[in-house]
């Protein structure tokens, strides 16, 4: 059976949450966030997923964006967590941990039956 990289499909549901979590460390711009996610083992983060997620959270009031001049190139848009974003992060972190626990429980059940 052909194995495909399942990470993009899985990431789709949690990219927003991961971005909020990374920004809890301090402000960052898009490509910087993509690189940090890549370092964490998510694989390449397509711009086509990254920026819509950031914009969505900006419009929800979870992120505050600010433009800075780049080094020579076009400007960079820096994102920072707002208080509302911090609250959302706390809630979503709990919800995700419960969900991840359920997935783990399901996997462990079938493993135990072997």
């Amino acid at each position: 059976m052909k194995t495909t990289d399942q990470r993009p499909a899985w990431l789709r549901g949690v990219l927003d949450l991961c971005l909020l979590a990374l920004l809890d460390d301090g402000e960052a711009y898009g490509y910087e966030l993509a690189r940090r996610l890549e370092e964490l083992g998510f694989g390449t983060i397509p711009g086509g997923s990254l920026y819509p997620a950031l914009l969505r959270r900006e419009k929800l009031g979870h992120l505050h964006a600010e433009w800075r001049a780049g080094d020579g190139g076009p400007g960079r848009k820096y994102y920072a967590l707002t208080p509302a974003g911090r609250t959302a992060l706390a809630q979503e972190r709990i919800a995700w941990r419960a969900f991840a626990g359920s997935v783990e429980a399901a996997l462990a059940t079938t493993e135990a039956r072997r």
Binding site: T4, Y29, G30, Y31, A34, T44, P46, G47, G48, L50, Y51, P52, A53, L55, R56, K59, W67, G70, G73, P74, G75, R76, K77
Partner: protein, 281 residues
């Protein structure tokens, strides 16, 4: 596609979607900055400009019922095509035995069934290429039909075919090329510099066939296995194109095998039993 071309098309698509100029400029500059730093291929990283523009426009102005997913509740449009008790025999064999089907505006209907159950025949009947032996067929408006194989002019480039097919639909040379390249672009294919149809891969010929069928935005799109054998990414782009199509209020009927298609279509009609599995609205 070069980054400059991609960014230019992105700006054009954002404008077409009515995104305010300041927001559009920010979106373009951010993408430009990313492409510069990541040294990434724009199509690989961001997808087709049209698709990315739509994602960003949606993120800017979220709608309560997000368009672009199957199963979102939309008002059923007017009936665009209807088949009632359609029968067809080929060489003494019954291919279609009393098939009923309705396609409405704003609906992407999937037609499934085992091999030889008459899916392609039904499409050809709706396209007006084959006469049914019995029953009634009504199609209201212009039809764009992409056969499973063939239908292309072997020795013409995609752009030449856009011009040729576009003329039949009253499109100027420029409008035909722009329309055709735009659909190709949505499917992740750069048609502008592609060689003659004979030199294209099977998958690319399928994309060309879809782009030709969609030329001039006919009322009803009939597609026979448009992404059979293509990779997952192409299948996804294909469905995004279809969602876009139906979100603009047009109708589509698609023959496909892939199990994933059932979840993505608005309604499913199964032949070889002719049962409506799920109907929209």
């Amino acid at each position: 596609m070069t980054a400059a071309t991609w960014l230019e098309r992105l700006a054009h698509e954002l404008d077409a979607l009515g995104v305010p100029a300041a927001d559009a400029a920010a979106i373009v500059v951010e993408a430009e900055s990313h492409l510069g730093e990541a040294a990434a291929d724009p199509l690989a990283s961001f997808g087709p400009p049209a698709g990315y523009a739509r994602l960003m426009a949606d993120a800017l102005a979220p709608e309560p019922s997000a368009a672009g997913t199957a199963g979102s509740v939309r008002a059923a449009g007017r009936v665009r095509a209807r088949a009632v008790a359609v029968r067809k025999r080929y060489r003494g064999r019954t291919v279609l035995d009393g098939v009923d089907l309705t396609v409405r505006d704003g609906e992407a209907v999937l037609l499934i069934g085992p091999n030889g159950c008459g899916k392609s025949t039904l499409l050809r009947i709706l396209a007006g290429l084959v006469r049914p032996d019995g029953g009634r067929v009504e199609v209201d408006g212009a039809v764009g039909y992409a056969p499973q194989h063939g239908g292309l002019v072997a020795q013409l480039t995609p752009c030449e075919q856009f011009v040729l097919f576009g003329r039949a639909r009253g499109l100027s040379r420029e409008a035909a090329v722009r329309d055709g390249c735009r659909v190709a672009d949505q499917l992740g294919w750069d048609a502008a510099r592609a060689p003659v149809a004979d030199a294209l891969s099977g998958g690319t010929r399928q994309k060309l066939s879809v782009a030709l069928a969609a030329l001039g935005a006919p009322d009803l799109l009939l597609l026979d296995e448009p992404y059979q054998g293509l990779d997952l990414d192409s299948a996804q782009r294909f469905w995004e194109l279809l969602w876009d199509w139906r979100d603009r209020g047009r109708a589509a009927l698609v023959v496909a095998h892939a199990a994933d298609a059932i979840e993505r279509a608005d309604a499913v009609v199964e032949l070889g039993g002719a049962v409506a599995l799920r109907s929209a609205a």
